[in-house]
């Protein structure tokens, strides 16, 4: 079984898994028993993230991103990661700057100068799938089909630097774009609430949370709150992800910091401005040393680098709660 096939078309590499291979992984390795999957961020990354893995996440660096998990990946010095970068703002910079990531499927590759310069210097390879194309690839992976069609990408240069193809639609005879299914090795999802078995709730919009959970070999959920399973059964419309798609549950309050968690805490703009200003390797190293390597885990980071007072203030500034429940 070739779980992690990397294919190439011309200069373009792309990750592809035959649906049958993914299905067999699901059959043999995903647990449908509602056991506790609670562990620390360190344990989750140790167990479920390997060198060379393809990683996706939801939502963005600024809103509900899995920042605690990304910092843990850097702390554990994973190598040669491939990022499916839908809204990658600072994660890409940090993961490339820390030497963890070598390939990025774009997406939206913002912002700050660091990542742009890394691309220009050839320190990271990029492929252009566009946001819609990546979301569609993950939907294909989630639906167990090898591809899905769309009517975009056509006519653009993205088709030359991705493995999207044009085929003849069997019903109209016209050209349609197809993209190959994507089954990431790892999906990181930071959520508002989860239970120990992995049932999870996101409040607000998402990119492709359920799609990514279905499509990924390993799913790590980090959650602001751990709640009882019974709460999910009382309100099934609020469930975003059912437990049997999930491999690990990490209780990570302030797990999206320095981004915002809607209705829980606001973005720390001072910290984000510092991230935006990381334009040299020297500054990058200093940032990583201070915020990642010099602290042993997320909790120590919160205690020593953020602090209760700032967390209190950020919580207080999250004044919009309507709809997030």
């Amino acid at each position: 079984m070739k779980e992690k096939e990397i294919r190439a078309e011309g200069n373009v590499e792309y990750r592809f898994t035959h649906p049958d291979d993914f299905r067999e992984h699901v059959r043999d390795r995903k647990g449908r028993n509602p056991a506790s999957k609670l562990c620390s961020a360190g344990e989750a990354v140790e167990t479920f993230v390997r060198d060379g893995d393809y990683i996706v996440y939801d939502f963005s660096s600024l809103t509900r991103g899995p920042q605690a998990l990304v910092r843990e990946v850097i702390r554990q010095r994973r190598k040669d990661l491939w990022i499916g970068a839908e809204f990658t703002l600072h994660e890409s910079s940090l993961l490339v700057g820390a030497g963890c990531a070598s390939r990025i499927d774009v997406g939206f590759l913002g912002y700050g100068n660091y990542i742009g310069r890394a691309v220009c210097a050839g320190r990271v390879r990029v492929y252009e799938w566009t946001n819609g194309g990546l979301a569609l690839r993950i939907l294909a992976g989630a639906r167990g089909v090898p591809f899905l069609p769309s009517r975009d990408l056509l006519g653009s240069d993205n088709m030359k630097v991705s493995a999207a193809r044009t085929i003849e639609d069997p019903y109209t005879g016209g050209p349609v774009c197809v993209v190959p299914a994507l089954n990431p090795d790892v999906a990181f999802l930071h959520v508002h609430q989860a239970d120990e078995t992995g049932n999870a709730r996101i409040f607000g919009t998402n990119l492709f949370a359920l799609e990514a959970a279905l499509a990924s070999f390993r799913v790590v959920v980090s959650a602001e709150e751990i709640i009882e399973t019974d709460e999910f059964r009382k309100d099934p419309m609020r469930t975003t992800i059912p437990f049997f798609l999930v491999d690990a549950v990490v209780h990570a309050p302030f797990g999206a910091y320095p981004g915002a968690m809607p209705a829980r805490y606001e973005i720390d703009l001072d910290h984000v401005d510092r991230l935006n200003s990381l334009d040299t390797d020297e500054r990058m190293r200093a940032y990583l040393e201070e915020n990642v390597y010099s602290v042993s885990d997320h909790e120590e980071f919160l205690d020593r680098r953020v602090g209760a007072k700032r967390m209190r203030d950020l919580r207080r500034r999250a004044t919009i709660v309507e709809g997030y429940r």
Binding site: P19, R23, R27, P34, F232, R233, P242
Partner: protein
């Protein structure tokens, strides 16, 4: 030594089905009898099975007693873990998350192919018309192990179906994969009111595994229009226990909408 108890053919069929499911697995539940099988199984044997209904109820804990004629209503979708829709439900099965699927059938052939569409005549003007696939085709195509549950009646076991609604092993070994169906899937058991069948690992042909204790193998075979393979030896299935019958009759279906049938033993 167990006392002899009276039960119906339907009760035996349901009980056999309920004994097949593993705990901590997922079960795609078809309309009708499979609903009752799932209830009995979860109540007695597999508390941690996760049921899925095709219209998007994930992990429901149906209210007992069973409410007839309303699979999608609040009673049957009670206390679900998640409420979604049909395209999501079939994504779960297509991506490999469903261990078991359970379906009824009007006809079944030696390769476990299912007809639930029509009998006789032509497709356009059949002699009898049934409900059709519903989501049965998807369940039989996607789930790892499909369990077919049906009364043991001669006209139902046929060498050739009048219509192939949901795929078994099609015309033999490798045929599913060749057709493009997901690898490693297929019919797992046929549960009837008289016995239990599996499928031979090589020939993919239906194989009689066991019969209800006290019923001669010959009687089971006489009720079929083709001859299945026979396990060596053909086993004996225990009749329903008193506890199984009590739960079925008192907790699940006191109105006897489902469990009525021919009396046995």
């Amino acid at each position: 030594m167990p006392r002899k108890v009276e039960f119906t053919d339907t009760e035996f069929m349901i009980v056999q089905g309920a004994r097949l499911i593993e705990d901590g697995k997922t079960l795609f539940v078809g309309w009708g009898i499979p609903q009752v099988v799932a209830m009995l199984a979860q109540r007695l044997y597999v508390p941690n099975v996760t049921q899925l209904f095709e219209f998007g109820a994930v992990g429901p804990r149906p209210v007992l007693p069973f409410v007839r004629g309303t699979m999608g209503g609040p009673q049957n979708t009670y206390r679900s873990l998640q409420w979604l829709n049909m395209n999501w439900a079939f994504s779960f099965s297509a991506a490999g998350y469903m261990d078991y699927g359970m379906l009824g059938a009007a006809q079944v052939d030696p390769y476990g192919n299912i007809n639930s569409t029509c009998l006789g005549g032509t497709f356009e003007k059949p002699e009898r018309r049934f409900a059709g696939s519903g989501g049965g085709n998807q369940v039989a195509s996607h789930c790892w192990k499909t369990i077919i549950i049906m009364k043991h009646e001669g006209r139902r076991f046929v060498p050739k179906l009048d219509f192939l609604t949901s795929p078994g092993y099609l015309d033999g070994p490798g045929a599913r994969e060749k057709a493009g169906l997901p690898r490693g899937t297929g019919p797992y058991r046929v549960v009837t009111s008289k016995g239990l069948f599996g499928f031979d690992g090589e020939s993919r042909r239906m194989t009689l595994l066991s019969v209800l204790r006290g019923i001669p193998v010959r009687e089971v075979l006489d009720g079929m229009a083709f001859r299945p393979l026979l396990a060596d030896p053909v086993g004996e299935a225990d009749p329903p226990t008193e506890e199984e019958l009590r739960v079925l009759r008192e907790e699940i279906d006191p109105g006897r909408f489902i469990i009525r049938g021919e009396r046995m033993l």
